[in-house]
């Protein structure tokens, strides 16, 4: 069993897919581990916190070069592993396989894209169908998405969530009471945690989100939340940042974005947040991998190259 998993990891590290039967088996094992995790999963520093990956496999490999290999480096990924990029399947399965292999050295929390409805629109469903010939792998992965934690907390001081805060949530303990093992709802606390955005221009506390789900929250919401929960920082992802990371609200909220040259055209850099044993924080920037231009020529496309309006 163990050597099987190592072999599968080796395969995935080369950006090659494992069989559908192997995916099913992997998901079963992953479920057993994830079901034990809390809605607010405790993580010990030192840890390297990462943002959206969006199927950009070679850039994930670059991330591991820059941040150190797992399990040597302890990692926390804040969701959005799939959709948009060419290799959502390989990316997610690699992270999942690493989780099964080294459960205490990598933490995966749920992003808004870890959802049946979203992956049908934004590419993961199509990629699974194309690479495996049926929707089975997509279904297995979506079931796993349901088991992913909603958030993490590092040494009780740094709160990590994919999107942001919710008007329904004042304390970390309230998050623990959510029944998370379901498709991301269209509204409510669980949805907000994965969809909200901080709004640096906001004068008032809460606003409706232009995304159509979640909320915008201002400094007047973030700071009391931090204070009431004994936190020093909220780390989140969910929004493209050209400089890789962006600090807001007197450096109490940070957006970390880990997909460089997003969608192979945005020209942004990516970042990871390295937190040491004393909760010292340092940001490392990295650019996209040269493998991307090679890969897009050989990867089977859906209907020609990604069709983006220019």
């Amino acid at each position: 069993m163990g050597s099987d998993l190592d072999r599968q990891i080796d395969t995935l590290l080369q950006c090659k897919i494992i069989t559908e039967a192997e995916v099913k088996e992997l998901c079963l094992k992953a479920r057993e581990i994830l079901v034990e995790e809390s809605n607010v999963q405790r993580v010990d520093a030192p840890v390297t916190v990462c943002g959206d990956i969006h199927g950009q496999f070679w850039d994930l490999k670059k991330l591991f070069e820059v941040g150190g290999e797992c399990p040597k480096t302890n990692y926390l990924f804040m969701g959005d592993f799939v959709d948009r990029g060419h290799h959502s399947v390989e990316t997610f399965l690699l992270l999942l396989a690493l989780k099964v292999r080294y459960p205490d050295r990598i933490t995966l929390i749920r992003g808004n894209h870890e959802s049946r409805q979203i992956t049908k629109v934004y590419g993961f469903y199509d990629e699974c169908f194309q690479k495996f010939g049926s929707a089975n792998v997509w279904r297995y992965c979506c079931e796993i998405f349901d088991y992913l934690s909603l958030s993490a907390i590092i040494d009780d001081r740094i709160f990590c969530v994919h999107g942001g805060l919710s008007p329904s949530i004042n304390t970390i303990d309230q998050i623990r009471t959510i029944d998370r093992m379901q498709e991301v709802p269209h509204s409510g606390a669980m949805c907000d945690l994965l969809w909200s955005d901080p709004d640096p221009d906001s004068c008032t506390g809460w606003g409706l989100s232009p995304r159509g789900a979640g909320f915008l929250f201002g400094e007047t919401v973030a700071k009391p939340f931090l204070h009431n929960n004994g936190l020093e920082l909220i780390a989140r992802a969910h929004q493209l940042v050209m400089e890789g990371y962006k600090l807001m609200f007197d450096e109490t909220v940070v957006t970390v974005w880990s997909a460089p040259n997003y969608c192979y055209r945005c020209g942004n850099v990516a970042a990871i947040l390295e937190i040491d044993a004393n909760l010292g924080k340092s940001y490392t920037i990295f650019r996209d991998s040269e493998r991307n231009s090679m890969a897009s020529r050989s990867t089977p496309q859906r209907e020609g190259p990604p069709d983006y309006f220019l």
Binding site: R84, V121, Y122, L208, R211, A213, L240, Y262
Partner: protein
């Protein structure tokens, strides 16, 4: 085009009857202009400057209405431009004109009570080609359709604006892909432009209040929100036209 009319100088020779809104007029008088001509934006002509100062659209009106809900003192300067009003209001400064208690009441009414959850919703199946949607919109003189799956659950929205986008970029082959695939491409494109992905379905429920619906229309900057039931099936649609029809009744009274 009547060349002797200074308002028309400089305009194109298209056969529009450009509807113009004099700058500096109160917003209550501008809305009927928009509604009666069935347009969603009109150029604002400033006679003093003898030029066009901008477009007045439903977005401005909505922002204005929302701000009216807050109690404001009238400013001393009564010659404020419409655009300045919105700007000031957005910065939480004073807005002229009195309060509208009737407006408050409407804002708290549910869409169901407003009768806005029984519209006849025109739709297309997600698997149908985009061309079918275009034909349906055209023959029914509507600017958008709900895109539904086989069970009648709302998947998203396809509108003339989206299709015009296609035409502009000459991707005519997209007329033959399915409506769902089309929605997907639109969403993929928009998400990478803004750096943030939007929820695929922009909707409200029959129990949502009119005020909430306005807020959501303004936040998401769309022209319509689908009214859905708990199971995701469509009960109606609230467009900007519906919103201002409701609001205009208050203004007339």
């Amino acid at each position: 085009m009547d060349g002797s009319n200074p308002h028309r100088e400089g305009l194109t020779t298209l056969h529009h009857d450009w509807t113009m809104i004099p700058a500096g007029k109160l917003v209550e008088r501008q809305t009927p202009v928009l509604l009666s001509n069935g347009i969603s934006a009109a150029p604002v002509f400033d006679e003093a400057k003898n030029s066009f100062t901008g477009m007045f659209d439903y977005g401005d009106l909505m922002a204005y209405i929302l701000i009216l809900l807050k109690k404001m003192d009238p400013p001393q300067d009564q010659t404020l431009e419409m655009r300045d009003l919105i700007q000031k209001a957005n910065n939480s400064q004073s807005v002229p004109l009195g309060e509208f208690p009737k407006l408050q009441a409407v804002m708290q009414t549910t869409l169901h009570a407003c009768g806005l959850d029984h519209s006849n919703v025109l739709s297309v199946n997600g698997n149908a080609p985009v061309l079918d949607a275009l034909v349906k919109m055209s023959s029914n003189s509507v600017s958008s359709l709900a895109v539904l799956d086989d069970q009648g659950i709302l998947l998203g929205n396809i509108s003339m604006t989206d299709i015009q986008h296609v035409m502009k970029h000459l991707k005519s082959s997209w007329l033959w892909i399915s409506c769902f695939q089309f929605i997907s491409k639109i969403r993929l494109s928009r998400g990478v432009e803004t750096g943030e992905d939007q929820y695929p379905v922009l909707d409200v429920s029959a129990g949502s209040t009119f005020g909430y619906t306005l807020l959501k229309l303004q936040a998401t900057k769309v022209h319509r929100l689908w009214v859905v039931q708990d199971n995701g099936s469509v009960a109606g649609v609230v467009s900007l036209t519906d919103v201002f029809r409701v609001l205009s009744k208050l203004i007339d009274n």
